[in-house]
Assembly symmetry: C2
Homo-oligomer: 134 residues x 2
């Protein structure tokens, strides 16, 4: 697979506005985009730190994946996303190695990337996303 870098780190928050204030005023990062991803039932806010983005995730529905995550775990680190090439090949090879896939076929994520998730039960507890900018 050989990912080139960490594309982003997803962080579940209760309030996008409150968390944006912290990331801007304390860490000194700049929110450059807010985007709703209806498919995932989240509103997202993006920051750049070097090669990597911080993606804050606020649930728009308590029954959505981030709503359920916060209900169970509270706010905090949610997933990491690796930048890959040929995401379809990566998914096929990953499944052949016995890893459980959440998405067998890539779908569209935030910022128009092709994305797919690996199941945390196969990845030592880390919800892991692959993404490719086509």
């Amino acid at each position: 697979m050989n990912p080139s870098h960490i594309e982003h780190i997803g962080i579940a928050v209760k309030s996008l506005d409150d968390a944006i204030t912290y990331y801007e005023n304390v860490l000194g990062l700049k929110c450059y985009a807010i985007e709703e991803v209806k498919d995932q039932k989240v509103r997202t806010a993006f920051f750049v730190v070097g090669q990597t983005k911080i993606e804050l995730l606020e649930s728009t529905d308590p029954e959505g994946p981030v709503g359920k995550f916060i209900d169970k775990n509270g706010e905090g680190l949610h997933h990491i996303a690796f930048a890959v090439e040929n995401i379809e090949d990566c998914l096929r090879e990953t499944e052949e190695k016995g890893i459980r896939l959440i998405d067998k076929i890539p779908r569209k994520g935030a910022e128009g990337l092709d994305i797919a998730f690996l199941h945390p039960k196969s990845t030592f507890g880390v919800l892991t996303e692959l993404c490719e900018k086509k």
Copy 2:
């Protein structure tokens, strides 16, 4: 503060050996160092992905911070570390902004970096590390 990049992502695992196999054989990363950090009661394994390292953390003591984390949450994402300059100034400014510090003075972490943690109760649930290579 203006961190230059994500220095590393810390991931708590039960077995360093099992997790290293996954990161090498599935993700295609290469473990370049294993180091014990006695102060933190962990053994760590390091991988590079672009500008960022993956730091796997295996507890050497059930009463240590990673042992307690796994006992409560299971394996998974543990902390993120931002690369900063003038870490002492960053800590002073962060505290002045009302953020609770775990470490008021930097200490030595893995790979000889000066490190300090911010408390997750002040950082929207994300255990946040600042680190500086002096």
